[in-house]
């Protein structure tokens, strides 16, 4: 009940409307004030379907951030979309498309074993055209490629270093597992460089893509299983850290709030979950961070993802990156890259997403560095797609600064 009741806080000031990156570029989305606190007064569970335009909310949560009175606009919208799903607003084709995009774990499980074939299909222009025509997956949207090795396979073969500082649970998320294991490797190395023993318990998709697509029941299932898997560590006071800002936000508050999962176990897990940069910056504040960084001579844009700003913890990645000698970081103040999880992959929303991200793409191109930096995977893909500049996770630079071998795009740089 908490989420909907925040509608009473709205004083109609329009700050959310002026800041909403989606409403700024399309008339299809009337804006956060309209969809959130205003429409909520007309919604009622047992009446016919009323909503359409709320599906154009990207869920970036900029509105929540700027709201001076604390209306949970993005959550009200997410719940409204879930009602649309429940009331059958979407045809089977859209539901199928949304579920394909939102079930990143399932997609990984199916796609990974046949990675070369899957990649060939997913990157093939004809295949993509067919996917757009039949399913509505935007043909130009930046779909990732499956990696050859799963992250957890690497981890099992990995020799842990000495760990005097105790244990940390790492929540790697689907993207690290199936597409970008290098981010996970960087995270493990950074944690180990700080003397932590990294534990990786069995885990599932955090459920956020499903929550953003109104598929609440499936998301609830994933969240429950993650909580079951993580709660023992939380009880022991072991921190749970993640490199995907969306996954950690989901464990921290999105899933509990949207699904009314206010049980003791969910609360415990939420309390012990941190974004990795947040965790490391806390170490630094206590004077416990290993700051023996080697210099990286590079100028690059850092974009804090919307989902990271929603953590309300400042800009921990930016502060960490600024500890690295030689690194010249240009902070992006762009509202959003546009992709918003699965949003920009949808044919009807692709153009909107590209327009939303345009100021950020312009900044990245104008800055002219060899890379851009961003904490969230889909944002990185979108930044690269929109600006042509490859993007990395802050942990990759930290690992490099700790002296580990560069991977991926960083390999190609003369640093």
């Amino acid at each position: 009940m908490f989420v909907e009741q925040t509608l009473d806080n709205c004083i109609k000031c329009n700050i959310c409307v002026t800041e909403c990156p989606v409403a700024a570029v399309t008339d299809k989305f009337p804006g956060p004030k309209y969809e959130g606190p205003q429409a909520a007064r007309f919604r009622q569970p047992n009446q016919p379907l009323t909503d359409w335009s709320v599906d154009y909310c990207s869920g970036c949560r900029v509105c929540n951030m700027v709201c001076p009175t604390g209306v949970r606009i993005a959550e009200i919208n997410a719940r409204a979309r879930a009602e649309m799903v429940r009331k059958g607003a979407f045809g089977w084709r859209t539901r199928l498309r949304n579920n394909l995009l939102a079930r990143s774990e399932l997609l990984g499980k199916v796609g990974h074993p046949i990675a070369p074939l899957a990649n060939a299909l997913l990157q093939n222009p004809l295949g993509r055209l067919a996917a757009e025509m039949t399913l509505g997956i935007a043909r130009h949207a930046p779909l990732p490629t499956f990696s050859r090795e799963r992250f957890t396979a690497w981890y099992r073969a990995h020799q842990p270093a000495n760990a005097p500082k105790g244990k940390v649970v790492y929540f790697h998320g689907c993207s690290t597992e199936y597409y970008e294991p290098r981010v996970g490797r960087a995270a493990v190395r950074v944690l180990e460089a700080n003397g932590f023993d990294v534990i990786i318990p069995p885990q599932h998709c955090c459920g956020l893509p499903l929550l953003s697509n109104g598929e609440f029941d499936a998301a609830r299932n994933y969240h429950r299983r993650n909580v079951n898997s993580l709660v023992e560590y939380a009880r022991q006071g072991i921190p749970i850290v993640g490199t995907s800002t969306s996954c950690t936000l989901t464990l921290k508050e999105e899933a509990p709030e949207l699904l009314d999962a206010f049980d003791e176990e969910s609360r415990l897990v939420a309390e012990r979950t941190f974004d990795l940069s947040e965790f490391l910056l806390n170490l630094h504040t206590r004077g416990e961070l290993n700051t023996e960084f080697r210099s990286i001579d590079l100028r690059a844009v850092y974009h804090p993802p919307c989902q990271y700003r929603a953590h309300r913890v400042g800009r921990p990645s930016l502060e960490l990156l600024r500890l690295i000698p030689g690194l010249d970081i240009v902070e992006s103040h762009a509202a959003c890259c546009g992709i918003a999880g699965t949003y920009g992959f949808k044919a009807e929303k692709y153009e909107i997403a590209m327009q939303v991200g345009q100021p950020l793409f312009d900044l990245v191109r104008a800055t002219g560095g060899p890379i851009a930096i961003c904490d969230s995977e889909t944002c990185r893909w979108q930044i690269t797609h929109g600006s042509g500049v490859p993007s990395v996770h802050p942990m990759e630079l930290l690992a490099l600064a700790y002296g580990y071998e560069p991977e991926g795009v960083l390999q190609q740089q003369t640093l």
Binding site: M1, Q5, D8, K12, P30, R41, Q44, Q47
Partner: protein, 539 residues
Amino acid sequence: MRTIQTEVLVIGGGATGAGIIRDLAMRGFDAILVEKRDLTHGTTGRYHGLLHSGGRYAVKDPKAAVECIEENRILRRIMPHCLEDTGGFFVVTPWDDPDFGDTFMEGCRNAGIPVEEISVAQMLREEPLLNPKISRCFRVPDAAADSFLATRLNAESARAYGARIWTYHEVRDLMMDGQRVIGAVCYDLVHDEEVRIYADMVVNAAGAWAGKIAAMAGLDVTITPGKGVMVAINHRVLNTVVNRCKMPSDGDIIVPIHTVAVIGTTDVKVSDPEHFAIEPWEVELMLDEGEKLVPGVKEMRILRAWAGVRPLYQETKAVDTRDITRAYTLLDHETRDGVSGIITMTGGKWTTYRQMAQVTVDRVCEKFGVQRECRTHLEPLPGAEQHGGYHWLGARFADVERRQAYGDLICECELATREDVERAILEGDAKAIDDIRRMVRLGMGPCQGGFCTFRAVGLLHRLRQPDVEEANAALRDFLQERWKGLLPILWGQQLRQERLDEFIYLSVLNVDHLPGPKATRLAPVMYDPPTGEAPQGRV
């Protein structure tokens, strides 16, 4: 000065008057209705919006209960689009006598009101915010009614049958010829002129003002205006009408109507239907009692408070107004007072307005010596057929979504589009912004006119092209009207809202110092503090 001749003159543009003029017109009378402000400006536009099942009177006033359920069935048939079929609960809270439940069931059965007891678990499934300590729950066919729309549609139907309806026509005097009323001297507030209407018969349907009208013919009609204070919660905490299962008393009902839930009401005798204040204890009492039904309601955002005056009539001197019968009264002044040419219909409640009209027009027929059958219970109000079914909360939002009209909202809170407001001004012939409000719910949402008043005045100015001074005064009139209902509940979130509205109007737009009069003749007059009287009621 204009002079007009008609068969029947109806005084009062509330539910009763509008019902009467429709019935008269349908039975072929040449009739005029005069109302001193806009339609529903009086009690009709200031009640909580309940369509009674009769449950409320089942024990205390069986006659009223029977009338209610009869009319409930008829109104569901002729004006479903003015009603929301919320259903109603009567609940036994820990503060109520648990045995009253059985008495209540019996009362309902005797009055012919369909009633069923449901489990508390079922009640909480349907209304999760209700107090879980409630011990019994009875379901009855209560509903929520849009009295603005219903009254306007009665008027529209009457016009289609040839009646004339003149708003902003104040009755200043009744014209007499010996012991016979022959018409009324009216004053047209818009055109600033006197209008003399000669009529073969005058029907006094002025509600709480009926005593004042009757006095103009030297008639002694004692109406006790019973003030009822209501408080609106910012959103629909409930989707079912919920009544306390006990003898009717203060603060024992919550009605979900449009986007709000209304807690009602108090009942305090006032000396003047026009001058009364909303007292702090009344608002507090509503919230205390509301809290018993929906725990936590006191912490929620309160949108507004307002008061209406019940027209309670009793031949003998009144003491406690709640004990006066709610059943209506027709006074035939020819037999009662020896004054012919006038009858008075008073008392009653919104739910029974149509029956009251029927009884009145039956008497008019008798007086004219004609026999014409009433058909108001058979013929639906305009729009009922096209609309096809009851109103529902999300209908307006669904419509805006379907037409993608969200870029064209004038009142964002209540989703009134530019088209709606323009139609209200042109076709609805709105004279003041408050008239637009009654037609399209402009300014009735959380910001209480903060973001729509200047837009509406802009449209009014563009379409009507009044002097700038007049437009400025219209703006001030409406802001002042909204302010009166905000003053009694000015704390928490609504205070924050008002601070922003204050910045918009007093700082940015400098509304207090714009050229033009402070207020117009058309300004609403309610809640002006009683002149020279000590505050009434408990403190």
